[in-house]
Amino acid sequence: MSESQAGLHAHGITVRYGGVTAVEHVSISVLPGQIVGLIGPNGAGKTSFVDAITGFAQAEGSVVLDGRDLTGLKPHQRRSAGLARTWQAGELFSTMTIEENVLTSAAPPGAATLFRDIFLRRPDRRATVDGHLDVVGLSGRAEVSAGSLTLGQQKLVGVARALAGGASILLLDEPAAGLDSNESLEFADRMRRITDHGAGILIIDHDVDLMIKACDLIYVLEFGKLIFQGTPSEMRSDQRVIAAYLGSPIEGGAA
């Protein structure tokens, strides 16, 4: 794999729902080790874009991950290839414990699973699970039922679930929406720990402070089109972004 191919390269993504074009010819790259932000007003097509590249929505355009073409693959195949996502609404398996939630993606069933389940000794995956939970700050809570968590915590488990089973690129859909401002700054540090291990992150969030503090690069969507891409400091002074999304010049940023 050549250097230019490493990471996620989505090119010309277009999503149509009936007559409405939710995402129009959007191209985004996320390189290993990078935290890339995707922001935009409500209805700008952020989640549709994530649905498209993870295979949950019909879309035009191509998706390449670490040199491998994922276009046309099913969601679980893209996940196995290393493109993992979380959901805006958490979408945990609420009747399971945190540990079992994380294990679902650590050990998805394959052709030999039935045989293995019946006849072979179970590998002890406790340490792996704890490792992932530690990254999101939930270590020691493996046995807690996922249904009893707050939405913010559920999303953190979602991140751990996405990490488990190996992910080279994580797509986080509003992971910090349920967190207070302290927790969300803490979350920025946690993301940095993840990227330090070589993974790349594409994050959608409304918290501009968080985005400016955490991201290396920011894309801005409006009405399904990319209107900006650049560093956080460039964004703060970009007139189109200010007009479209921020409404007023951003003061202070990540103070």
């Binding site: 679980h76 993992a84 945990l92 398996f93 679902t104 998805p108 069933p109």
Partner: protein, 671 residues
């Protein structure tokens, strides 16, 4: 050509019944969101009341009866029949459907199936199982018309007109009256309807009653041609369900037209199978294959466009405790069971053995419904398929005993994979419709097919291993211990396999698919493959049970694998607790011909009492306690333990609080 037309005309009488039942189904669905599997059974009640008023001058109520001095005559009988239909509909609504109106789809399906089983059992007890002749509803005084070689009785025309007119009235009620519009609105948004000043319960009750009335009238029109029979009338709901799907669960007009057409088509088909060119092996039950094909085509054509309220809410099912193998207690249970088998004899040993076998069949429901979250009503047909293969080929090919069971169960797996295909597109109540249709088609086309299954049954020889005879009979001993112990070993192995799978990666994937398919896919789980695996595995369990059932009867008889047996097993599996192997054991005890059945039979001697009690208990379970008997007991034990633990200081108090919270959560789920 005129022959075909003539048969089409003959088919009109069933056609109007399908149309009316389908319209009733649509009415109930639009008013309550529940698919009323009991539609045929409910409609049949009024028909029976009419028939027995005319025949014996007795008015049968659900409980008790009123004697008339002599035949009350046509009009009074008709009015009383319709009045009892109103009574039955209202009872069913307020006692069964209303309590589960906000419940998970599975609970709704189970309740409506429970009502069906209850009414059918009640009809069997009150009116007997023989077909009852019903006098003509409309006097056949006028001469038949002849049009181009086709004879048409005036009454055929009349009752078609009656049903079409009634359907039109139903349509007009929903379409034009404020109340009808509010009924539709209330089904999708109860609160809004309340704010508009309507009582959603009353609207739904009225819809149920109207549905019951049109279906009852159709039964009264059709019964003189077919005779009243509790089994066939209860099952006329299956073709009606197919019609309902074609009408996209909403169009009264399409349902009326298509229902009548289906009746005519089935009649033509009944004529065609008598032709010499029609293969003899495919002559039986073809009319029941037609609804299955219609359902399949309808789902392929607009599977995703069918309104599916159930798919919006995630499939809420009782919580699952991941099972673990505890060698000591497992050994104790095994030894106790072996000892009980040794100590009991004759009917008691047979009952206990049957309970063990039924545990395996119930486990197949635990896998497919409890773990995978798919409502399948076809499991017993998998069992039958496997038993059928055993009786037909297993003997001759000469495969030795334990392996032949595996081979036969694998043929059930093949059938299971085919039936699983629709489950990749649909779920919830619609899957229940498809699987019920498939079960009926397999029963009629294969098990009841005398060219494949002779009336006296296919003999199944005794299983033998290393020269040991594990047959159920030998000389005067009709329930040998060797057979029972063999069954116990097989069942223990199956339970072990279940526990291993349920506690493994595959079991977790099943639960993930059950909880949230989208999230499962995003966790890297191949949802389609997981569903196929689950269906295959459950079919394998059912197949093993089918072989054991075959061995325990010494032959394969279709009556062991009817749709009703299947529904009863689902009933007891749900009663026992659909999410655990303990529940499956309870289900085995409660199952038809099992231990409890033996006890009831021993003291009351009537099998229909059992069916009635099972149906009523099932309604209660689905309403009050969706986690079943085993689940409830487990909770009580945990609760008691936790409260005892409270006296000791500290840590345990938290668990108690947790359990209380769990109990609360479960209660809210069940309401």
């Amino acid at each position: 050509m005129s022959t075909y037309l003539q048969f089409a005309v003959f088919g009109l009488s069933l056609g109007v019944l399908y149309a009316a039942l389908a319209n009733g189904l649509i009415m109930v669905y639009r008013a309550t969101g529940i698919i009323n599997f009991a539609m045929g059974a409910m409609a049949m009640w009024g028909g029976y009341v009419y028939a027995f008023l005319r025949k014996e001058s007795v008015l049968y109520l659900p409980v008790g009866q009123v004697y008339f001095p002599d035949d009350p005559g046509f009009w009074l009988s008709l009015i009383l029949a319709l009045a009892s239909s109103v009574l039955v509909s209202a009872l069913v609504y307020f006692l069964a459907f209303r309590p589960v109106r906000q419940a998970p789809v599975l609970a709704q399906v189970v309740v409506s199936i429970a009502v069906m089983l209850t009414l059918q059992a009640l009809a069997l007890i009150r009116f007997g199982g023989d077909t009852v002749r019903v006098d003509r509803f409309l006097a056949a005084d006028a001469d038949a018309w002849k049009i181009g070689g086709v004879t048409i009785e005036p009454q055929t025309v009349w009752f078609t007109v009656i049903v079409v007119v009634l359907s039109a009235l139903l349509w007009a009620y929903l379409r034009f009256t404020r109340q009808g519009m509010a009924t539709r609105a209330a089904a999708s948004n109860e609160r809004a309807a309340i704010l508009m000043g309507y009582s959603p319960s009353r609207l739904a009750a009225i819809a149920m009653i109207l549905a019951g009335l049109i279906a009852t009238v159709a039964v009264l029109l059709t019964a003189p041609t077919t005779g009243l029979n509790p089994v066939s009338y209860t099952l006329y709901v299956v073709p009606a369900l197919a019609v309902m799907l074609v009408a996209k669960m909403s169009s009264i007009g399409v349902a009326t037209g298509f229902g009548i057409a289906l009746g005519a088509f089935q009649s033509i088909l009944a004529y065609l199978v008598t032709q010499s060119w029609w293969p003899e092996w495919a002559a039986s039950g073809v009319d029941q294959v037609v609804p299955l094909m219609i359902v399949m085509i309808a789902l392929l054509a607009f599977g995703n466009k069918l309104p599916a309220r159930g798919s919006l809410q995630t499939m809420r099912l009782p919580d699952v405790d991941i099972p673990r193998i505890r060698p000591v207690s497992a050994t104790v249970v095994f030894v106790v069971a072996a000892a009980l088998l040794a100590l009991s004899q004759d009917e008691w040993r047979f009952g206990l053995t049957t309970s063990l076998i039924m545990t395996v069949l119930a486990l197949s429901y635990v896998i497919v419904t409890g773990y995978l979250g798919q409502i399948s009503l076809v499991q017993v047909a998998f069992a039958g398929t496997s038993g059928f293969v055993l009786s037909k080929f297993g003997q001759d090919v000469g495969i030795p005993f334990p392996i032949v069971v595996v081979v036969c169960a694998l043929t059930a797996v093949v059938v299971g994979l085919v039936v699983a295909l629709p489950a990749l597109r649909i779920r919830g109540a619609q899957l229940a419709i498809v699987t019920l249709t498939a079960a009926l088609a397999i029963e009629r086309f294969v098990f009841n097919n005398y060219s494949l299954t002779p009336a006296e049954g296919n003999n199944i020889g005794a299983p033998q291993l290393f020269g040991l005879d594990f047959g159920i009979r030998q000389g005067p001993d009709v329930s040998r211990l060797a057979f029972s112990w063999m069954v116990l070993v097989v069942v223990a192995v199956m339970v072990l396999v279940f526990v291993r799978v349920a506690s493994g990666d595959l079991g977790r994937a099943f639960l993930a698919v059950r909880a949230n398919e989208r999230a499962a896919a995003s966790a890297g789980i191949d949802v389609r493959m997981t569903k196929m695996t689950g269906f295959a595995l459950s079919a394998f369990f059912a197949g093993v049970a089918g072989c054991l059932i075959g061995y325990s009867h010494g032959q394969l008889s279709a009556s062991s694998f009817t749709v009703f047996v299947g529904l009863q097993i689902l009933a007891v599996a749900y009663l026992g607790g659909i999410t655990s192997w303990g529940g499956a054991v309870v289900a085995g005890m409660l199952a038809p011909l099992g231990l409890v059945h033996t006890v009831i039979d021993h003291f009351w001697t009537t099998g229909n009492t059992y069916a009635l009690v099972a149906g009523l208990l099932l309604i209660l379970t689905a309403i009050l306690n969706p986690s079943g008997i085993a689940g409830a007991t487990k909770h009580q034990i945990a609760f008691v333990r936790a409260h005892r633990g409270r006296r000791q200081p500290g840590a345990v108090a938290e668990t108690a609080a947790e359990i209380d919270a769990n109990a609360n959560r479960e209660r809210t789920t069940s309401v």
